[in-house]
Amino acid sequence: MNKKKKQNIIYTVSDFTKELKTLFEEMYSFIWITGEISNLIIPRSGHVYFSLKDSHCIISCVMFRTQNKRLKFNFENGMQITGMARLSIYEPRGSYQLIFEYVELKGAGSSQTAFEQLKKNLFNKGFFDEKNKKPIPSLPSKISIITSPTGAVVKDIINISQRRFENIFLEIVPVKVQGKDAEYEIVKAFENVNMFSKSDVIILARGGGSLEDLSAFNSEKVAMAVYASKIPVISGIGHETDYTICDFTADLRAPTPSAAAELAVPEKKDLKKNIDLLRTNLINNFKKNILFLFQRVLDLKIRLKNPETIIDDMRLTLEDLEYRMTNQLKKKLNFHKYELNWIKNSLYANNPEKKILKLKKDIQNLTNKTKLIMNLIIKQCKAENNQQKAKLNTLSPINVLNRGYSITRKYPQMNIVKDSKMIKKGARLEVILKKGKLLCQVEKNE
C-alpha cells in the first residue's frame, strides 16, 4: 500500500538493502527446500559452505558448526538433500544465501518420511510460521510446566527456575511423556492449562530418547494442541540434536528442558540490575540535562554583555565632544580677540594726530605766507611813496633860492609880491631864503 510512496523515495544503496533484508528475512525466516549439493567447502571453522542447485538455478548456502554437529551424515557433493533454512541477505555484498538449521538426506526411512510429510503438511498449514509464534513474556507471573512429574527433568526445571527467580510461581502439569496415553494427556494438559491456569507461559518438556520415545511430540494432535495454545509455549524436548514437530510448532524451541527453563524464567538479579541501571541512567541523564541547562544559563550569563562598556564608550565620546566644543569656542574667542586687537591697532595707527599735525603745518605755512605778502605790500607802498616824495623834492620851487633868489609874500595873505606898488608902507612881508624865512615890515615904498 506504500508502493506509490516508495516510488517517490530515492534510496541509498544501504537503505534499500536494509529494507530488502528486513522484508525478505522476515518473509522467509523459515522455509523447507530441496536440491543437490555442489561446491562443497568445509574450512577449519567447521561451518559448511555449499551450493544447492536444481536443473535451472543455484543458491549459496551455509550450515554453521553448531547445527552441523547434529547431522547424522556427512556432506558430499552430488547429495540430494531436504532441509529447513532461513533466508539471509548479506548486506556488504548484496548477495543472499540460505542458512540451514536442519538438513536430511532425501529418501530416508519411512518413519522419517511420515515425519517429513507431517512436517510439510503442518508447515503448509502455517504451524511453523514465525508470524503465528507468540512472544514469550519477559517476566511471567506464572509458568505452567507440562512434563512428567517424576524424574530429573522436572527437578532441573524447578531448580533452574527458582535459582533464576526465587519468587517464581511454577505449576507442574503432570503428563505421561511416552507411551500411548502420552499424546492424549499432553493434549488434555494444554486444554486444561489454557482453560484454568492463569499462566503466562507453558513449558513442554521431556528428556532425551529415541525417535519412538519422542513420538508423542511428533504427533499431529500434540502439534495442534501446541499450536492452539493461547499461552505461549516453549518446547524443551530431548537433546540439542532432537527436532520434533512440537519444536517446530512451539513459540520458542529450547534445545533441552533446562534450556527451556532458562528461556522461560529471566534471572531476577539481571532484571533488578537492569531496572537499577535504567533508573541510574534515568537519574544521571536527567541530572546531565539539568547540569547542561545550568551551564548554558551560566554561559549565557557570562556572555550577557554588561552595558558598562557601552557606557564607557559613550563617556569617551561625550568627553571628546565636550572637549572639541569647548576648544572650538575658546579658539573662536581667541580669534575674535586677535581680530579685535588687529583692528584696534589699525585704528590707533590711523588716529587723526598725524592729520592734525599736517594741518597745523599747513596753517603755519599759510600764516607765514600771509605775513610775507603783507610785509611786501607795505614795502611796495613805501617805495612808491618814497619815489613820489623824491620826485616832489626835485621839483620843489624853492630850488631857485639856492642861487640867491628869495621869494617875498604878503603877509598873511601869502600871495607873492611881484610889484612894489602893491605894497604900502608898514605892510608885513615874508621872505623865503635859501635857508630860513624872514618876516619883514615895509619901511618905504620906492
Partner: protein
C-alpha cells in the same frame, strides 16, 4: 498504568532514558518524563516482587475438578 506488563514498562523506561540522553527535551518535558521514568522503574521493581514463590501441581480430583496441590519436589 499498572496493567502494562513488565516488558512494556521496561521498554518505555528505556525509551525515556534514551530521550533524556538525547538532551533534546525541554526542561518541562524532561521533568515529566523523568517523573514517569521513576514511576515506571518503581513499577518494574514492584512487578519483580509481585509473584509468590510456590510450586503447585495441577491435578483433577475425583470429581473431575481441578485442584492445586503443592508439589513435592522430593
Amino acid at each position: 498504568m499498572s496493567k502494562k506488563n513488565f516488558k512494556e514498562l521496561i521498554s518505555q523506561l528505556e525509551e525515556i532514558v534514551k530521550e533524556l540522553e538525547s538532551g533534546e527535551l525541554s526542561l518541562e518535558n524532561a521533568l515529566k518524563k523523568f517523573e514517569k521514568g521513576i514511576k515506571y522503574a518503581s513499577l518494574c521493581n514492584e512487578k519483580l516482587d509481585e509473584a509468590e514463590k510456590k510450586v503447585s501441581l495441577l491435578i483433577k480430583d475425583n470429581k473431575g475438578n481441578f485442584k492445586e496441590k503443592v508439589f513435592n519436589n522430593e
